[in-house]
């Protein structure tokens, strides 16, 4: 038998009210162990109040080669930002 424990991606919520953020990864035989390992590896100094673990194999990532097609269409749509609109300085609370 020569099989590795699968890799899990670890996401941590650092404080109540914040998003979970990617912290790194761990190897573990199952989800419970992945949570325990993530706790030991990534929260030795109270870095989190909540942990998600996700099997790395379940993540579908965008291809950097296709970055242009995916993200460039938004580049010329400046009208999606509030600063695009010319309004008088006297206007407040907007």
């Amino acid at each position: 038998m020569k099989k590795e424990w699968p890799v899990w991606e670890v996401f941590i919520r650092s404080r109540s009210g914040l998003d979970h953020r990617h912290a790194g990864s761990v190897h573990a035989a199952d989800a419970k162990m992945a949570l325990e390992n993530a706790r030991d590896v990534y929260t030795r100094r109270q870095e989190g109040v909540s942990i998600w673990v996700v099997p790395s194999a379940s993540i579908t990532a965008s291809d950097p080669e296709e970055g242009g097609e995916l993200f460039e269409p938004a580049k010329d749509k400046v009208y999606r930002h509030p600063t695009f609109y010319d309004l008088p300085d006297e206007l407040t609370h907007m």
Partner: protein, 315 residues
Amino acid sequence: MEIDINRLDLEFQAKIDSGKTIEPKDWMPEKYRKTHIRQISQHAHSEIVGMLPEGNWITRAPSLRRKVTLLAKVQDEGGHGLYLYSACETLGISRDELFEQLHSGKAKYSSIFNYPAVTWADMGAVGWLVDGAAIMNQVMLTRTSFGPYARAMVRICKEESFHQRQGFEIMLSLCNGTAVQKHMAQESLNRWWWPSLMMFGPRDEESTHTEQAIKWKIKLKTNDELRQQFVDQTVPQIELLGLELPDPAIKWNEERGHYDFGPINWDEFWRVVGGNGPCNRERLAARKEAWEKGAWVREAALAYAEKQENLREAV
């Protein structure tokens, strides 16, 4: 095809020059990948092997305060090894392959851990000097071009600052103690000084990787620059402890604005790198034993996970 690779190479270098990070799925030259696997794994192995000389002192720490500190430090080192192995695996090598390279001797780890920690003062000197030297290198690496490596370094640097401080505190206590304790601190400084200077690697003119490493921002300073920085930082600390300088050639050079220091014994450096230091065999044997004796645990955990998975599917 030839032209295509050249173009990709140029674009890749331009990306690094502009300060962008390289991420695992980005195109990268094969040599960049290989160099990073070698360097990051060597760094990870150093953390793991580095647990051995200190782990040996946990049960013999002189007080509970020192004991919990040392335990926390060794746990951090285990954690740092894991961050680095994970970063390395994003380059397409498995954890088992990395361990295999360590155990077969194909991959190296920092030679400093092939020296023995023979007295309690060594726990002070290791934290102060060895971690101090490592931090200098690691602070530089927080700005390296490979994203996962740089991010692991940020985390490691944040956690390591206490490692050096606790080491200095141990030295300070000994220096403020009895004559015997102070003597122990002096001997420890004398023993760890030269190996610590060797941690920065061969002299620039003999370092084969430096030029390429600087181009790829794996290195932002040369070995000799970092070594000088370490000497300049450490000499006043030695004076603060009231210890004698471990090298009679150490002298402030007004013109250079740096401390001069004596020649390093490079024969010793290459002997230890080559596997013939005081503890090379012992360290590697300890790692291999842990790996082999842990095999049944790894297998049992997987078998249990598979069984649970099958039961769930059967319901």
